[in-house]
Symmetry: C2
Subunit: 584 residues, 2 copies
Amino acid sequence: MHIPCETRKIALLAGVLLPLAFSTSAALAQDKPKEHGDSPAAAYEPSMTTLGQINVEIPGRKPGDPVITPSEFQAASTIYFERCAGCHGVLRKGATGKPLTTDITRGLGYQHLIDFITYGSPAGMPNWGTSGELTDEQVDVMARYLLIEPPSPPEFGMPEMRATWKVVVAPDKRPTKKMNDIDIDNLFSVTLRDAGQIALIDGATYKIHTVIDTGYAVHISRISASGRYLYVIGRDALINMIDLWMDPPATVAQIKVGAEARSVETSKMKGWEDKYAIAGSYWPPQYVIMDGDTLEPQKIVSTRGMIYDTQEFHPEPRVAAIVASHYRPEFIVNVKETGKILLVDYSDIRNLQVTEIEAERFLHDGGFDSSKRYFLTAANARGKIAVIDTKEGSLTALLESGGTTPHPGRGANLAHPTYGPVWATSHLGDETVALIGTDPEGHPDQAWKVVQQLYALGGGSLFVKSHPNSKHLYVDAPLNPEADVSGSIAVFNVDDLTQEEPEYTVLPIVEWAGIAEGQPRVVQGEFNKDGDEIWFSVWNARDLESAIVIIDDKTLELKHVIKDPRLVTPTGKFNVFNTRRDVY
Amino acid sequence: MHIPCETRKIALLAGVLLPLAFSTSAALAQDKPKEHGDSPAAAYEPSMTTLGQINVEIPGRKPGDPVITPSEFQAASTIYFERCAGCHGVLRKGATGKPLTTDITRGLGYQHLIDFITYGSPAGMPNWGTSGELTDEQVDVMARYLLIEPPSPPEFGMPEMRATWKVVVAPDKRPTKKMNDIDIDNLFSVTLRDAGQIALIDGATYKIHTVIDTGYAVHISRISASGRYLYVIGRDALINMIDLWMDPPATVAQIKVGAEARSVETSKMKGWEDKYAIAGSYWPPQYVIMDGDTLEPQKIVSTRGMIYDTQEFHPEPRVAAIVASHYRPEFIVNVKETGKILLVDYSDIRNLQVTEIEAERFLHDGGFDSSKRYFLTAANARGKIAVIDTKEGSLTALLESGGTTPHPGRGANLAHPTYGPVWATSHLGDETVALIGTDPEGHPDQAWKVVQQLYALGGGSLFVKSHPNSKHLYVDAPLNPEADVSGSIAVFNVDDLTQEEPEYTVLPIVEWAGIAEGQPRVVQGEFNKDGDEIWFSVWNARDLESAIVIIDDKTLELKHVIKDPRLVTPTGKFNVFNTRRDVY
């Protein structure tokens, strides 16, 4: 099977060629306020609204701005924050997604925005309209919202953080031994995106042990070095610290670290286990080092600064992936817009030493090679992979991934039959998967080069996955506008990688889940502890049935489907053992 | 002789008790535009003006703002930048001077501002009106200017810097040996403040070798490690690099590094001599590392970030003093508002390692102890001195200076008869001089403590000075509102420091200079290379006669007065040898 390239081209043309009906929005300016029941006058006055629970001022209307009412502005701000800011930025300056500043949106015009939001693009823009995730009315308000200036969100420093910080159960009130019979190392922490929860699911029985309220759309789960504490961070920058020894596991501390965030990590260096947690924010652009047992914020560091190459000031360099070095007492912090990888030495946070490595713009996510010495991370909008040697603390390589917008997640490590240890990433913007040599000693000619390019289902892929015990590489495509593609998984057999263009097997996950309503997206394979099963989320709209589908890694056959009314919009899943040991 | 404390109290009371005539400025709003010939309408429109040659937008008028015309706004911006921003900040958030944000200035009111600008205060605010430096009309426009929001100055990143960068004489076109007969090591680089020039004056003959056009109000001169190149930086952030081997010495490279700046330094570590220069800016808040032989900008680093203690974001953490370590390939960078001392490792600027030491807010200037291992620097508005061990790269001590607003310049090192090596600083806000023990091995009980407090002429002191070959400590008070005080120098004999409250000798420098017009301020003693003469600037208004007065250090008698029509507003003087070897 090969690539449905036609699908890509057609959808792309649809986005580009649809008529640019009007760009000054005069009709909107006359009609819209009446439809929504607010007086036209109110639409012109600055007003307070909330963005991620923080008050912001609606910026003044400028000549030519389409009219938007305060209630529309508030609703649009919330949708923008929940759906758009992740890729396009709180200040709309773009990153994984394109910039949406008003100079650009007004050039594109209202109708173009409507079409793009409705139909998406195979380069990774979801089809919010046709997928049913936004109503026509919501698409309309978003198009108008994008034609006016964005709200300026407030700072979020130590006073604001401390005001949100809660120790629910103090360290000395927590159990001194594990109080439940959960096999913690084979537990899965599953993001229930739109519910603002995580589910803790048993890796052997598939039973939901408990569901815990968290921030909105938990982006990742991370585990303390000891394996006891689970840290989850919502896109709204709320961190929950969960004690897995409690019966049932429950939140023992909580903090909000900003208006929008993605990353949390814990200190892993020998001697520093469970000592610190760190979280990186999208807004404000900063990271914070916290006590590992209480989340008490200790040190906030702004990332505002110069873009590495042009050396111009950037007001919103967002913090993307953070990993903890296994070789030094350091956190490795990706700063997106400025293209810098920070090595943050946590051994003395009052005299903080940071090495700022010039890498490439739009750093996003990444993971370790199989030796855990090298950190490979995507500069996604630049199509590049930066490689950091965490032992030496330096940039080892910067290479083209060969595709459009690499999005590795943590990536996948394979033992390639020809090239030895390789690390894989798929792409948001096309169907390719890059295999990159990671063995400078055993395979120096292949090290930090794309040794092979695979072709999977289509654009819109978010994650690849494998396991040291598996002979398979799994590739999803959840953001592809085609339901056939977004509902399936491509599986490559590692033994077939000797072929120039290896075939893949298609797993019809949505079909196996038996879900007919909606356009559920199949996302993020995650192995169990033993590496003999892989779990996929079948992520449907909030009011429709979702599922988790479990595949036998040896046979590629369906093993189990988890369905439960509590499984609302499941996305990321994090197996405790694999996550805390960086096994992927 | 002792302190004219009465003077201080009276002037201070005058500032506080003068009637707060009006704070909403209704009368001004009606009258002022007519007086200045601009139409009132124009006063309400945003307009472009220049701030340090950079276009800025006049912010919109708000209800209750006093009217100011665009031309007044422009004139006031220029005056503010030249006279006020140094202490009060481009964004008026305060540092050495008090904050002047509109919430504060509107509380004080127009008349209070008029009085304060006119009469100054002994805490360091100069008497701009009574000294003749500002006219009544200028004082009026400044008071109105301070009642409206400040202009927001633009960024100044690599594109802007490179646009200003000029290599006047390329390195391979420069002489290969010294082409003049100047005794370079005994040359003085003298700031001619309001002329935007420096004079190079011979230390033996007192002859002006040459006058070189520079930026406005050159703040300091620094010398490359080899002694060949002189770097001067204006308050307008223009750096001139002067080749002292040329005949006459002349500018070989030039760059503007921002809108406002104070500090320049050169790499001094063995193996890195003359390799890099660094400059710190007040606006934008950043520093830049440049090639030492061309000033080509290589790396710009923003200092925007969190205040060290409250951990709230500060938009304008200005870079104050920078020194070069003699023990490591590091620049030591004072960041004022956030209270951080940065150790910037220049051995690999593409992978820049910076250690951020939490010290105290409002770091300003400072210098080395006599061993050159320790850097003592004032957190002036907090009344503290931070001590950095440049060999170990850590904070050694943080101590109260015992006075109000310490302003050491580089300070003065003395061999105290009782306490061994001490370092001295005077104060902007009072007449005290603090002597701080700097010998942790020989005098551990006294190390990093104020071992003695001296009482000099009065508040408004900027600089103390001594020399390893001198038995004297000289203390100026140029910003004191009293002409007697600002025109004199106090001299302590080191042998007298055994007394509890040692007396000082008063040198009537202005009288000796024979200048009757104006209120010249005597500022900044600087020794010649041999340490047997000290030079003082007699700094008069721009259109009045100034002078340099040279004193015999042994006898404290007048040795020579340099007068020359070219000596316009002389202030800082930098002896080449003492500056490049950090002898003070």
